[in-house]
Each structure stands twice: as structure tokens, then as C-alpha cells.
Subunit: 224 residues, 2 copies
């Protein structure tokens, strides 16, 4: 190891993971379980130290944290911002490369990991470190990016109806949008496509099912 004349910062990753629970945008918190680390027993964003022996980069570290602490591989994981400083962690000067992730409702139901809890995104409790600042920035980014991309489709199952996408859009952005205009917009922008199937089981005329076009997030030409 080549030495550095300055003490190295503690290098961490943290993940703000969102889903829809009972119709509301919700943030996942995990109970801190390591007695050698600060705030053991407290609810916080899932995170941890970068394992330089196994993580290829910070994104891989965040993916490992989700996989090992939450029990699944995150379909959408994007770097948010790096939070840093002398005072944010009681251990020492630290930096956390923060990520945000979106999963469809129910994904967490399959994990058998204890100590996980969802809180509504508009009523997050006091969290340790600067995790409230991380969560707040993640919500702002999510709200903003929702207006010009197909990002919100990652909160839905692979096949969804336009009314379902519209409901998630209104929930996340907090804005009322005419559904006919919304439908025209998302279809004109070519970010979703019909699966050819219809939602069955309802009492009304069965609505068409759609899926995200392409594997990643598509950006819209204009805002919704």
C-alpha cells in the first residue's frame, strides 16, 4: 500500500430505496445490527463500508449492500450525490457515495430479513448521520426526474396499466394531472409499449397492459 500523508476518510455507500406501499411513496429503513458500529439498533438507510477487497467500484458496493442487507438484486440503482465531511460520522472524517433505488411494491415481501421497515416518504423520522439529508435529496431527484423520464415505471411490476402509472405519477410528484393528457404524453414520447395483454379480473372493461420500452430509463423530449 502506498501511504498517504493524510488520514484516509472512511468510505461508505448508502442507499435510499423507494417503493409504493398502500398507494404511498415509501422509503425503506433497516435496523443497524453491528455492535461495533455507531447507532446500533437504530433505523437508518441501509449502507456500509466499501469492501476494497471485493467491490469493483462504489456502484458494486451499493449493489452488494442491497443484496446482502435486503435480500434481492436492485433493478434500478443510480448514484445520487456524495456526502462528506469531518462531522457526519462519529468514527472519523468520512464520505458516503449515496445511491437511490426503486422497486415495485411487494419485492421486499419475499425477503426474510428481519429489521426492515417502510416509512412514508413525507413523514420520515429522525435518522442517524446525515441520512435525512440523503433521503430528502433522493426524494427531490425522484420527483424531478419523474417529470422527464420513464423512471417511475421501476416502481411498477413489469406489466402495468396507464391508470396505474398515472396514480404513481400523481403520488410521487404530488401534482394532479389530467389522465387523458398524461396518456397521450407517455404514448407520444414512446417510452412505454403495449404488451398485447389486458388486465383481467376487474369489473370494468379490461384495460390494456403496457411495459417499459428499453431496459433502462428513457428521457422524455419535454416534461410531462
Amino acid at each position: 500500500m502506498i501511504m498517504n500523508q493524510y488520514e484516509d476518510p472512511l468510505a461508505l455507500v448508502d442507499v435510499a430505496l423507494f417503493t409504493i406501499q398502500e398507494g404511498r411513496l415509501s422509503l425503506l429503513l433497516a435496523t443497524r445490527k453491528n455492535p461495533d458500529e455507531p447507532y446500533c439498533g437504530a433505523l437508518a438507510l441501509p449502507g456500509g463500508v466499501i469492501h476494497t477487497d471485493e467491490d469493483e467500484d462504489a456502484q458494486a458496493a451499493a449493489r452488494r449492500v442491497v443484496r446482502t442487507k435486503l435480500g434481492f438484486d436492485p433493478p434500478y440503482l443510480e448514484q445520487l450525490y456524495t456526502f462528506s465531511g469531518r462531522l457526519r460520522d462519529p468514527r472519523r472524517w468520512s464520505l458516503s457515495v449515496a445511491y437511490y433505488s426503486l422497486v415495485p411494491e411487494g419485492v421486499l415481501a419475499e425477503t426474510r430479513i428481519a429489521g426492515l421497515e417502510f416509512v412514508a416518504a413525507d413523514s420520515i423520522p429522525q435518522l442517524p448521520f446525515d441520512h435525512n439529508a440523503i433521503a430528502d435529496m433522493a426524494i427531490r431527484r425522484l420527483r424531478n426526474k419523474s417529470t422527464y423520464s420513464s423512471l417511475l415505471t421501476f416502481l411498477l411490476p413489469p406489466a402495468f396499466t396507464i391508470p396505474e402509472l398515472h396514480a404513481v405519477y400523481e403520488q410521487v410528484t404530488g401534482s394532479a394531472t389530467n389522465i387523458a393528457a398524461f396518456r397521450k404524453k407517455v404514448l407520444d414520447e414512446d417510452i412505454i409499449e403495449p404488451t398485447g395483454e389486458r388486465r383481467t379480473g376487474g369489473q370494468h372493461r379490461a384495460p390494456d397492459l403496457y411495459r417499459r420500452k428499453g431496459s433502462g430509463v428513457q428521457e422524455l423530449k419535454r416534461t410531462i
Copy 2:
């Protein structure tokens, strides 16, 4: 110091600093001067190791790098992205919190620091580390944010004319925009205001001078 069972990454900051030189968007490169560090003698983005003994956070570290390596205090400095991984630096697993900065033409002329060089943003040479990836992302961010904010005013002196702002806009975004529509847009969006003075010395009718409204970047309601 509380030990970490994993080797800590080397924690750095790097800055992609842009200005307008002879009408072209240009990126500043600095000759690496430390013989104990890799690529000594090469041109690279100005950067350095975070000094945990003196830097309050990564932003302060980036500000110190600009101040000490370029000789002035950067008026605009925004976090871009954190680049990380096992292979990006020959020393060891590293992460660089990358920033971008904009300065008006001529600011660098006042510094007496040797080894600084501007290159046109559309013809950046091969750089060490992953500095080409950092520069490319900074240019994309700059181009994108220019269409919905007052960001580009930071490439101009405190007082500027609308034709000057328009020329910078066309240079950075690479798009031809009708100047009358551009003038109406920036005035309607209320991001600049008249200084009450006019540019004197030209042969034509002296154009009005404007300044940025507010101290930071204002976001537009819609794209230009």
C-alpha cells in the same frame, strides 16, 4: 483512529474547469508536478487527495485545489459525480469526487501559475486516470443544464449583453437559436436583469448590459 477491516480507498477530488477562450468552450488542464504521484509531467484535470486534517468536506477540498493549483477562488463549483474503482488509479482502490466549475474568460490570465493549458472542449487529448470520462460527463452536464438554468452566466463577466449570452449559449449547446426568441425567453424567465448601463465603445447602437439575478444558478420553468 477506528480501524476498518478493509483497506481504505484513496480519496481524491478532481475539477473540470471551463471557460470561453477565443469564442470556444475550453477546458483547463494542469501539468502534474508531484514526482511522488503517478503521471508526473502529464496534463490532467487539476485535483488531489482530500486533506482530512484541513478540508471540512469534499467541496472544501475541491475549492482548496482550485485556490492553490489555479490561484483563484472559484465562483461556481458544483459536484458532478463520484468516479471510483480498483483500477482507475495505479496507487490503489480509489475514488474521486469530481466537480465542475465555470469562470469568465480572462480569470486565469491573472494567475502566475506555470503549467496551465486550455484545450477546446471538443478536442480534449488523451488524459491520465479516467479524466476523459470525467471531462465528458462534465460537458454533458453543462450542455444539459444550460438549457434550463442561468448556469452559463458564470462564463461571462458580471455585466454582459444579450448577444454575448446568446453567443455563449450557441457555443456550449452547439445549437443555433433565434436571438429574438432567446432574448424573450431569458427575459420572461426573469433570470437576468438590466444593470441600467450600456456597453460603450462599439460602432453600433450601444447594447444594454445585464447581470445574473440572484447569487446562484436559477432554474428555468421550461427549457430554452
